[in-house]
């Protein structure tokens, strides 16, 4: 594995392999920088179920106390729940210890501002500068605060916010048969109660032990959800839900054991959200055009942003969006609950759609606007990136071009999006069209231009 993957201190926060690269000392200093930045007051600290979580949390607590902050320890909780709690108790900010879908040897510090939202790029840059300057607040004995623990309030606040946006009785009456794979992650402490107690589902669950390691690859994707698909078929479940370790992302398995395309998961949520709240839709450039079709049906505008949750969230806030997300990443962001990715909102929306329509998951998906998607990677030599992009653009002079994140070329019925990876010399190529044939053709032509 290349060295730079083992530790990354950048605009997205700090992520690395624990404890050799993401050391307790580095974690402490980053937390102290964070405490210096947000100022004295309460900071919420929570984590997913990674084995390194407790060790790193002690370092985070130490750094925050040293900066004169009070620590509100919420223990193991989903990332969206932590974010909601930060806002709810009017804390100065929050830190979530989770490397999301990365392998178990990784961990990371996710940083939230006082609204419970991810730091935007300006806040992140200021924090990084502060960290490098090492000029931290050093609280004296008289200025050092306390560590308090949350008595379980955070879960209830999150669940109440989600339930307020769906027809709970309609869902409860259906007594849905549901399967769950929480990857032994933070969802383990909240999702079973949410589905059974709040939504009256009959639940068959695997991997809901927060004391155990991840039993599968942490990212919920078609090739990692075999056990959940089997459970759905075995128990005759109407739907299967899969979370990532910090329960911000959701994958869905239909009643036939087929894992849904993440773009379709988002499309279903957008359908539900636009029926209940006003405002436009914000998605990244790689998200399916199905979103545009659905928004058009509701008379709403769609904003496109560069790839990355922070980019989507920033624009959502600016345009007061109804809903947003990133198709490929399996994230549904519904600001009426919280401006962050939230698997609980996504679950409730799907069950609500099923209850309202009486349709199965596969029927709901079949009713979505149909597109064919293709994707792949192209390795490129150092220094050749600009030339390749130019070649692609010149190859399709008739297309509309968007250069805000790599290059996206659009036609009325199809598009291709090419962007460089942040970590490797690789171009990612995404193609979408109305038909298999058109998608194949656009992909092959693009591939030819990029590899010539």
């Amino acid at each position: 594995m290349p060295r730079e993957h083992l530790l990354k201190i950048g605009v997205s926060g700090v992520r690395g392999v624990v404890p050799e690269f993401l050391t307790p000392s580095l974690t402490l200093h980053f937390a102290q920088a964070f405490g210096t930045y947000v100022g004295r007051g309460r900071v919420v600290v929570g984590r997913d179920t990674r084995l390194s979580g407790p060790m790193l949390q002690h370092a985070v607590n130490c750094g925050l106390l040293a900066a004169g902050c009070d620590v509100v320890d919420v223990g193991i909780l989903p990332t969206p729940t932590i974010q909601i709690y930060v806002e709810h108790i009017r804390a100065r900010g929050g830190i979530g210890l989770t490397a999301s879908h990365n392998p178990p040897e990784y961990n990371a510090l996710k940083l939230f501002n006082k609204e419970g939202q991810f730091f935007n790029q300006y806040e992140r840059n200021e924090l990084i500068d502060l960290y490098h300057q090492s000029d931290f607040t050093q609280a004296t004995n008289a200025e050092i605060g306390y560590v308090t623990t949350d008595p379980g309030l955070a879960k209830a606040i999150h669940i109440d916010r989600v339930l307020a946006k769906v027809d709970v009785e309609r869902i409860r009456r259906r007594h849905f048969r549901v399967a769950l794979d929480a990857v032994n992650g933070a969802g383990s402490v909240m999702t079973p109660g949410f589905l059974v107690d709040s939504l009256n589902c009959r639940l068959d669950a695997i991997a809901i032990d927060p004391t155990k390691v991840f039993p599968r690859i942490a990212e919920p994707r078609p090739d990692t959800l075999g056990e959940l698909a089997a459970l759905v078929l075995k128990t005759g479940a109407e739907v299967g839900f899969a979370q990532d370790p910090d329960a911000d992302r959701l994958a869905i398995v239909d009643e036939n054991g087929r894992v849904l395309d993440n773009d379709d998961v988002l499309a279903l949520a957008v359908q539900r959200a636009l029926a209940v709240v006003p405002g436009p839709v914000v998605v990244n450039l790689t998200t399916s055009s199905a979103i545009d079709d659905i928004a058009l049906a509701f008379g709403r505008k769609v904003y496109r942003t560069p790839v990355g949750e922070a980019n989507v969230v920033e624009t959502m806030q600016a345009v007061k969006a109804a809903i947003g997300g990133e198709g490929s990443a399996g994230g549904v962001i519904f600001p009426a609950v919280q401006l962050c990715r939230d698997s609980f909102t996504a679950m409730a929306f799907l069950l609500d759609l099923m209850a309202e329509s009486g349709k199965t998951v596969s029927e709901l998906v079949a009713a979505l606007p149909q597109y064919v998607r293709k994707s792949g990677k192209v390795a490129f030599a150092h220094g050749r990136l600009g030339g390749l992009m130019q070649a692609l653009e010149e190859g399709f002079p008739e297309a509309e071009a968007d250069r805000s994140d790599g290059l996206k070329l659009l036609w009325p019925d199809r598009w291709v999006h090419v962007r460089a990876s942040n970590t490797e010399p690789i171009l990612r190529v995404f193609v979408e069209a109305k038909t298999e044939e058109a998608a194949e053709k656009l992909y092959a032509t693009s591939w030819g231009l990029l590899t010539a």
């Binding site: 050391t23 000392s25 402490l28 050092i144």
Partner: protein, 455 residues
């Protein structure tokens, strides 16, 4: 010292003023060095005094130890002696006590303890310092990190150990006033009262993190100030004042007079030697000559070593525990072999009370039986390069006494002595001289003038 922030990193450990010199980063790195230094794979016992900064330090210590693969056994807010006693029972690699003891509230410190609760030897402490300076720590893999558990029983087991040595119920006849200085002694003594019904009157017994009722100094002046006015009105037989960590103690007699901290070691040497005549008393070059008189009375021997706990520990290592009567300093810090040589003010208090009971004397009467010595102490600020000249000058000036040059210069005559040495922690020269009977005023002034002439 220029811009002194109090930070001291030495063989004794790490200490300083929190947020001024001592930072969270120092604490975590030093704990990681300790986690690397000690035997891997076994637990580490951690306790802290009530200072608010203790929680911050505790978080850093726990994180570092877990990263080194050690399970942390947390004793919560307890005195350093409680941590040391717990280590004697548990199969642990070592311990860390987070306490600045007799320093003011704005200080904190890490004290490192070996697997049996003993202080580190000079060689061990040196190795620990080297690891800290290199900052190459032995972290384990992500799936081998240590856990953490709370042990609420350590305080009671510590009291069990005290009760096994001292007949605590037999001390119920004494009324004793204790100033806890808002520290951990309050937790211990409340439990002792509950268990054995001792007549202890506790003051400043609220455990506090930010503001102590007074400076936690265990001097005769402080104990007289705090307890003096209370002794006669309460009809108390003795009074004791602890620092925040209760490893140090000061005494007041039944009249309300503060007792010099120099008296604790001779008292306990007398107590211990009367049970084991002929044994060795280890003390430093700066403590009272009364110890020599007491030892002579019981056929004991006094071994004087350089000032500092480290020198005492190294001297102790050269003997079997049963050869030693007691070890201690003129500061009132005393170690007894029954408790495997740890400084513990609570144990000292019970030893003094036991002595009073066995001999049927009040504290004042006990003290009156010893020959009177008068001690004078002073200090002079001096540039380090001038120190050798001063010492050579003094050596030439006093050729008639017995010379000891192991720590600065000590010159001893049959009825008086002086000791001039360099402080371990500040750029000052300490001058101490003592004489049987009246104060050695003239000698003291001469020494101070000489020292000042080099400053």
């Amino acid at each position: 010292m220029r811009g002194d922030s109090g930070l001291r990193i030495s063989h004794v450990g790490l200490r300083g003023i929190v947020g001024r010199g001592l930072t969270a980063g120092h604490i975590l790195d030093f704990a990681a060095a300790f986690g690397t230094f000690i035997e891997p794979g076994r637990p580490v016992v951690v306790g802290r005094d009530p200072r608010a900064s203790g929680r911050m330090a505790w978080e850093g210590v726990v994180s570092a130890l877990m990263a080194c693969g050690h399970e942390v056994i947390d004793l919560g807010v307890v005195s350093t002696p409680v941590v040391q006693h717990a280590l004697q029972r548990l199969d642990a690699s070592g311990g860390i006590a987070i306490s600045a003891s007799h320093n003011t509230a704005d200080w904190n410190a890490l004290r490192f303890l070996g697997p049996r609760g003993t202080y580190l030897s000079t060689a061990e402490a040196g190795e620990l310092l080297d690891i800290y300076h290199l900052r190459k720590f032995r972290f384990v893999g992500w799936d081998e990190l240590g856990g953490q558990r709370f042990d609420a029983g350590a305080l009671d087991r510590y009291i069990d150990d005290l009760a096994a040595v001292f007949d605590l119920p037999s001390l119920c006849g004494f009324r004793v006033v204790v100033d806890c200085c808002n520290g951990t002694s309050a937790l211990i003594l409340r439990r002792v009262i509950e268990r054995y019904g001792l007549d202890l009157v506790l003051i400043n017994e609220r455990v506090e993190g930010v503001q102590f009722a007074h400076e936690p100094s265990t001097s005769a002046r402080m104990v007289e100030l705090q307890l003096g006015p209370l002794m006669q009105p309460l009809g108390a037989h003795a009074g004791f004042l602890f620092d925040v960590d209760s490893d140090r103690v000061a005494m007041a007699d039944e009249q309300g007079h503060g007792v010099s901290e120099e008296m604790m070691l001779p008292l306990l040497a007398d107590h211990q030697l009367s049970r084991g005549p002929g044994k060795i008393v280890i003390t430093n070059l700066s403590s009272s000559a009364l110890i020599d008189d007491v030892a002579a009375r019981h056929g004991g021997r006094v071994l004087r070593v350089p000032v500092g706990r480290q020198a005492a520990m190294d001297a102790l290592a050269a003997y079997r525990p049963e050869q030693i009567a007691v070890a201690g300093e003129g500061t009132g810090a005393v170690m007894m072999p029954q408790f495997r040589f740890i400084y513990d003010g609570i144990a000292s208090m019970f030893a003094v009370l036991t002595m009073m009971k066995e001999r049927g004397r009040t504290l004042g009467q006990l003290l009156a039986e010893y020959p009177k010595y008068s001690i004078l102490k002073g200090e002079v600020r001096l540039e380090s390069p001038r120190v050798p000249e001063l010492l050579l000058d003094l050596l030439a000036s006093y050729p008639d006494g017995r010379i000891d040059r192991t720590d600065g210069l000590r010159v001893t005559w049959p009825d008086r002595w002086f000791h001039v040495r360099v402080s371990h922690t500040e750029p000052i020269i300490r001058v101490i001289c003592e004489q049987r009977g009246t104060p050695p005023q003239e000698l003291f002034e001469t020494l101070m003038d000489k020292a000042r002439s080099y400053s």
